[in-house]
């Protein structure tokens, strides 16, 4: 006989945590509906909605026609009528046909109606590279979303956050773009789905590792890379702090600023291209608020400003430990 306690803590993947989050949200709130391409019988191409159709039926977990603007556009109407749609976009680059709906309606409906009609829609987007995907399957599209006022943009990097942030997103009365780092889908943690770890909500960054030499500011798929870099940096005698943003909009400036003021040096790390990427905004904000505490300019380690490369070349594009350590070295330690 297994006790509840024995069952509780076991390795779980980020994918399982996401499924569990939708399952629990649907069980608690009958207005939560899941919709998208292949989300029903198949459970999604990444199996993130696995089992939901069986448990909740086709009316609440719907295989839609293959049309992203249609999926998001009908979700707008469903939210107007009081439902809470959770929409799956199959891959980052296939969300683009829905951008008109996203930008003109999803992001603006609350504003257009002076708050009378908020749209509680969660848009799940598997994003980013590192999985050997072919063209149009690996875009880091976060800058398009963060540049759109009215959208909340979050991205988990841990199993606990996958659960906690998705629950918070579904519960949010605002539309949330929920970016799922697809290369972390199969990352595991000891996790108790029966008593999920209470994680901070949307809009709070977390210091994942404390340090004194410099702060690495990152999110989503780059968090494990930064933690690895921080370990490697110990050999150089550098003690790096790592901040996981978790939420790009709203952006937790206070946690970031406090960290950089402590360490005096900062590197922003993400997969998306650097020009006009979230790192540009973060570096600017850190510079504005920490200028007198900074020992060096804020640096960025990002993907190149290129269309996402073919799978055999992606390793040259993605920011890795070496590039992060190089950037850290350029922060002029001797002074």
């Amino acid at each position: 006989m297994t006790t509840v306690a024995q069952q509780a803590v076991k390795p779980a993947t980020m994918a399982q945590a996401l499924t569990r989050a939708m399952r629990d949200a649907m069980a608690e709130d009958p207005t939560v509906h899941v919709m998208g391409e292949d989300v029903g019988t198949l459970g999604g191409v990444f199996r993130i909605t696995d089992g939901l159709a069986k448990e909740f039926g086709e009316d609440r977990v719907t295989d839609t026609p293959l049309a992203e603007a249609g999926i998001l556009g009908t979700a707008v109407g469903m939210a107007m009528y009081g439902l809470r749609p959770v929409v799956e976009m199959q891959f980052d680059a296939f969300a683009y046909p829905a951008f008109e709906q996203l930008i003109s309606h999803v992001a603006k409906m609350r504003n257009r109606t002076r708050g009378a009609m908020p749209l509680p829609i969660t848009i799940r987007v598997p994003y980013g590279g590192g999985i050997g995907g072919v063209e149009h399957h690996c875009d880091s599209s976060e800058a398009y979303y963060t540049a759109t006022p009215g959208l909340t943009v979050v991205t988990p990097a841990t199993v606990e956050d996958a659960y906690g942030l998705l629950r918070a997103s579904i519960a949010s009365d605002d539309p949330v773009v929920f970016l799922e780092p697809k290369r972390l889908y199969w990352s595991k943690a000891q996790w108790s789905p029966d008593a999920p770890v209470a994680v901070p909500g949307i809009g709070e960054a977390l210091v994942r590792r404390t340090g004194t030499s410099a702060t690495l500011i990152t999110y989503g798929p780059s968090l494990p890379v930064c933690l690895e870099a921080a370990e490697a940096a110990r050999e150089e005698g550098w003690d790096l702090e790592v901040v996981d943003l978790r939420s790009l909009v709203p952006f937790d400036e206070e946690t970031v600023v406090a960290s950089v003021r402590r360490t005096g040096r900062a590197v922003v790390v993400h997969e998306a291209g650097g020009f006009g990427g979230p790192g540009a905004e973060i570096a600017a904000r850190v510079t504005e608020r920490c200028f007198h505490h900074l020992e060096a300019p804020v640096l960025r380690v990002t993907g190149f400003d290129i269309p996402y490369p073919p799978p055999m070349l992606e390793k040259y594009h993605l920011p890795g430990v070496e590039r992060i350590l190089d950037a850290v070295a350029r922060l002029q330690w001797e002074n």
Partner: protein, 378 residues
């Protein structure tokens, strides 16, 4: 006119795999009539309900006056822009009047009149065009979606509302309006397809007024009519004279009832004509001739009905005068209220972006507040 039923509205007509492919031999049941359906001026008009038609008459007269008043307000600088529906009043008003209280209307930017005919305060309906806010009313309260500027994007919303209502067991129909140009947009296709697959209670009303700004229908589509587009989705397509309010009422009512009874969506093309320019900012003489406009004047929706009703003795001078007086009163009230400066609060800029303001917005709001206070002090 008879209802064109979907063949076996359930899943039965989607047997997979088909026994053998055969070309269609009999006439497709979903095909629209070859000619726009008409009632006024035909024998069918004797069966009309005189009281209902008098009501339509009063609404048409009011609608015509509303268009004139709104256009005058643009000349006085009270409205930033007004897309007139002179010539299209019949479709605007029928769309509003066939709906029940619990139904939803999804208007495009041109359909202010439909919103007003549904009972919305004319000033609230004009907020978008006056420019003090994007939507002047609570869409849920009136079951009128915000007037939609990006073409055809309101159509999937209508499908979503209708679908959600049905999931919740509510007998709600959504009626969505779009122009002929809007039917070329991808969202038009996606909305019709979703609606048909889900058998959602939606009525799509296309007002084919001849032009998308300057582009004539012939450059917009190669389809025989816009109503034909329904066939490919598996829903009935109806072609109706968009200036014949009695025909519109019949076709729209039938589609609404069909939707309410679980019969799924209908696409209706109302053939009409935009008598004025696209908006007050447009020069229509560059793309059409006066003789074309003159020809359509002979088919004016208000006069068509007036002629029919007077001819049948269903409308007397008193009723005509009452309708005109009511329209004048509406116009005077609209003029007066639109001449009052709207009271604006610049801090509203930050009020409705998120449920809870972000730090960035709080900072920017503080900056604006300080600027405003400095202005006040000066």
């Amino acid at each position: 006119m008879t209802v064109q039923e979907l063949p076996g509205a359930g899943a039965s007509h989607r047997v997979t795999p088909p026994p053998a492919w055969r070309p269609r031999t009999e006439a497709a049941p979903l095909l629209p009539d070859p000619e726009p359906y008409r009632v006024l001026g035909t024998a069918a008009a004797e069966h009309l309900d005189p009281a209902l038609m008098r009501r339509y008459y009063a609404e048409l007269v009011r609608g015509r006056r509303y268009n004139a008043q709104a256009t005058a307000l643009t000349r006085q600088g009270r409205l930033a822009v007004y897309p007139s529906t002179v010539g299209q009043e019949a479709a605007e008003i029928a769309a509003a009047l066939v709906l029940e209280e619990q139904d939803w209307l999804f208007p495009s930017y041109r359909d202010t009149l439909a919103a007003v005919a549904r009972g919305l305060d004319p000033v609230q309906a004009l907020t978008l065009l006056r420019g003090d806010w994007h939507t002047g009313y609570d869409p849920r309260e009136h079951r009128i979606a915000p007037l939609c500027t990006p073409l055809a994007t309101q159509l999937p919303h209508a499908v979503g509302v209708a679908h959600a209502a049905r999931l919740r067991g509510d007998e709600v129909v959504a009626l969505a309006m779009v122009g002929d140009g809007g039917t070329s947009e991808g969202d038009f296709h996606e909305a019709l397809n979703f609606a048909a697959v889900w058998q959602a209670p939606v009525v799509f009303l296309v007002q084919n007024n001849g032009f998308a700004i300057s582009v004539p229908l012939a450059k917009q589509t190669a389809a025989p009519t816009l109503a034909h587009k329904a066939v490919g989705y598996g829903m009935p397509g109806r072609l109706v004279d968009g200036n014949d309010v009695a025909a519109l009422h019949e076709v729209l009512t039938e589609a609404v009832q069909r939707a309410r009874a679980g019969g799924g969506p209908t696409l209706i093309e109302a053939v009409t004509y935009r008598m004025e320019a696209h908006t007050n900012a447009d020069d229509a003489t560059r793309y059409r001739t006066d003789s074309e406009v003159e020809a359509w004047k002979a088919h004016d929706p208000v006069e068509l009905l007036e002629r029919e009703l007077t001819g049948r003795g269903w409308l007397d001078e008193t009723a005509v005068r009452e309708a005109r007086d009511a329209a004048e009163a509406m116009a005077a009230d609209l003029r007066e209220r639109m001449n009052a400066e709207p009271v604006l609060n610049p801090m509203d800029l930050f009020a409705h972006v998120y449920a809870e303001q972000t730090g960035r917005l709080r900072e920017q709001a503080a900056m604006l507040r300080a600027e405003l206070e400095a202005e006040d002090d000066a």
